[in-house]
């Protein structure tokens, strides 16, 4: 494995060089919190912030995205026929993405890149993007990545993993894409591979030890779907929920969407917008019947999807990377860690209801 040393003095210049060939995104500090934004000329990613408020999923999967264009002008031969809107083909680079957020793309890929169907918008944007991860040495107390299938130094999806080593960044080169980015930026000072690798292992362990918050997932796969679905825990879990979409919109692994036509005069676009399983409208039939008509149904769907249906369908762990955003931002403090442990520990035969603990 190859390692590169990036002197912090060479960092701004390199980032600037990337801005030509790449659309460069990075965390930008706002008044109250940071978010991933496209970096302006001269602007550097803020690599000191705690995790961003929203996940960077929007770089690959924007909240509103045109899929097709159409004209309703009868004089035109192509009237009423949809033509695809091509996503931005220019390569993108995300600097300073956390390993948990990067891992999320691997989980979301199960949805958009299937043997039967390929979502061209998501896949092209994903493949066009070079992911430069920043190892996470300062996790929040609500982070639980190490028991959610990744960790502060996890390498999935990443093309490069940077470690902040004081006066320089140590970069682990994980893919060809990552190597190309380093070359473009002019960061080419090789670091001693053995020493770097062992330094990284050491730091990884130290970082992982800082993560105290845990979920238990070992029994999820063997729990019977129907018994979890019928379990008497859901009323208590769902009571506080106000059915807003915060948890789903801040989540790096939530992918649900809606399709809407927006017409302006005689032309328009078929748009894809994020949607949320928390909204009653999400599943409402034309007849007025709603298979998930109550708050309890919807809260259960969200947790069952992440912690059971996904687990069973793809055998790739839970659909959660432990970033803790929903835990921190839920206006009524519904906590996925608590729910995960509850259903992992649920014992239908004993009907021990951990809800009231």
């Amino acid at each position: 494995m190859e390692f590169i040393t990036i002197d912090k003095q060479d960092w701004p210049g390199g980032v600037e060089k990337l801005k030509g060939p790449y659309r460069v995104y990075g965390p930008v500090r706002g008044q109250e919190f940071s978010d991933f934004k496209r970096l302006e000329p001269g602007q550097l990613p803020d690599l000191t912030c705690l995790n961003t408020r929203l996940s960077p999923k929007g770089i690959v999967y924007p909240q509103s995205q045109p899929m097709f264009e159409y004209s309703l002008d009868e004089k035109k031969t192509e009237a009423h026929v949809l033509t695809p809107v091509q996503p931005d083909a220019e390569p993108a680079a995300v600097l300073g993405i956390r390993p948990c957020d990067a891992k999320a793309f691997e989980l979301v890929r199960y949805n958009f890149d299937t043997p039967e169907y390929k979502d061209p918008y998501w896949i092209q944007a994903f493949e066009n993007t070079t992911f430069v991860g920043l190892a996470c040495d300062l996790p929040c107390s609500s982070c639980f990545c190490t028991t959610a299938g990744c960790g502060p130094y996890h390498e999935a999806v990443l093309d490069l993993l940077l470690v902040d080593a004081g006066d320089h960044y140590l970069a682990k080169v994980l893919t060809q894409k990552g190597a190309r980015l380093l070359k473009t930026a002019g960061w080419e000072a090789a670091a001693d591979p053995d020493a770097s690798a062992s330094a990284m292992v050491e730091r990884k362990q130290a970082a992982e030890e800082k993560i105290r918050s845990r979920v238990r997932t070992d029994r999820l796969k063997n729990q019977p779907i129907d018994e979890l679905y019928q379990a008497p825990i859901w009323e208590d879990v769902a009571f506080a929920c106000i059915n807003c979409g915060t948890c789903t919109y801040v989540c790096p692994t939530c992918w649900c969407f809606d399709v809407q036509d927006e017409t302006h005069g005689v032309s328009g676009r078929r748009m894809r917008n994020w949607d949320s399983c928390m909204y009653p409208l999400f599943t409402l039939h034309g007849s007025g019947h709603n298979p998930r008509g109550t708050k309890l149904h919807r809260v259960r769907q969200r947790f069952m999807h992440k912690l059971k249906y996904f687990v069973d369908r793809y055998d790739a762990g839970i659909q959660c990377v432990g970033c803790g955003r929903c835990v921190r931002l839920c206006p009524v403090n519904i906590d996925i860690r608590k729910v995960c442990n509850m259903i992992n520990g649920f014992d239908a035969s004993a009907c021990v209801c951990p809800a009231s603990s």
Binding site: H80, V81, L82, K118, I225, V259, H285, S287
Partner: protein
């Protein structure tokens, strides 16, 4: 990369008002690019997204049969934005069809078996497709006895009336039409709800007999115990579900029942499968 969200352009070739309340119309579409017809190779029980630019898409079961060449047929109930708009469209108008989507009925498993088709109201669309498919001279010998039990509220609410009457007259299919209440002196078929007629007319269930049930929830609810009584095992009862859908390809996240997507893993499930999953439909 093929774009699974892109509809094939079609134009409306014919519009037939099916029911006396005029809420159901059958649309016959012809592909604007003839080559698209071969790409749209489907089997009975599948559905498609009908796309109207500026309005959106609706998932509708395919009512035509793959044995009918040169067109596609869909029967559309007027309920929402897209369907209401379609009801105002006219022959020659251009729109889109995206698909075929979903799994369709399990034709391999039903080969060599008796097939009982039980339908109610306007859920008869993919059943029509299935019947036409099975009655095609090239296919008929692949199935044993075929029974059809089809009911609607009134004679005027039955779909595909002239075709059903033609099937009635044939000797290679047993058709039992029914309406909910007494329908006047001209009505020469059954009177009564679908579950009751099923009890009277359906053959007993065994390993060699499959029942396909499509209809409103209330009909399904009361037909199920009848089939139980007749000896149909859950694995031999086949149902087609409807849930709100957008993408039709298992990506948008709304139509799932447990870990199954109705749009992609369904819409056709056996009762045995449904018994193992949350019934969110």
């Amino acid at each position: 990369m093929q774009n699974p969200y892109l509809p094939y352009p079609v134009h409306i070739d014919d519009i037939i008002v099916e029911t006396e309340d005029k809420n159901l119309k059958t649309f016959k579409f012809v592909f604007s690019n003839p080559a698209d017809e071969a790409r749209f190779a489907y089997r009975p029980g599948q559905f498609a997204e009908l796309s109207v630019a500026g309005k959106g898409e609706i998932p509708i079961g395919i009512a035509s049969s793959p044995t009918e060449k040169g067109f596609l047929m869909f029967t559309v109930n007027k309920v929402g934005l897209v369907s209401a708009h379609m009801h105002a469209m006219k022959v020659g108008d251009v729109m889109g069809v995206r698909g075929p989507l979903g799994n369709g009925f399990p034709w391999e498993r039903m080969a060599g078996k008796n097939v009982v088709i039980i339908g109610g109201g306007f859920a008869f669309t993919t059943l029509r497709s299935s019947i036409v498919h099975m009655l095609d001279p090239a296919n008929r010998k692949r199935f044993k006895d075929i029974h059809v039990i089809y009911g609607a509220r009134t004679p005027g609410m039955l779909l595909y009336k002239s075709e059903i009457q033609a099937w009635e007259a044939r000797d290679d299919i047993h058709v039992h039409i029914t309406v909910d209440a007494a329908a006047g002196p001209d009505w020469k078929y059954n009177v009564g709800f679908v579950p009751a007629i099923t009890e009277q007319k359906a053959p007993p269930g065994d390993a060699g007999t499959y029942a396909i049930v499509c209809g409103p929830p209330i009909m399904i609810k009361f037909t199920q115990p009848v089939l139980d009584k007749l000896g149909y095992s859950p694995g031999n009862i086949i149902m087609s579900l409807e849930n709100r859908m957008k993408c039709g390809i298992g990506m948008c996240g709304r139509c799932n029942i447990g870990k199954e997507f109705v749009c992609k893993d369904g819409p056709v499930f056996t009762l045995e499968q449904l018994n193992q999953t949350p019934r969110e439909f």
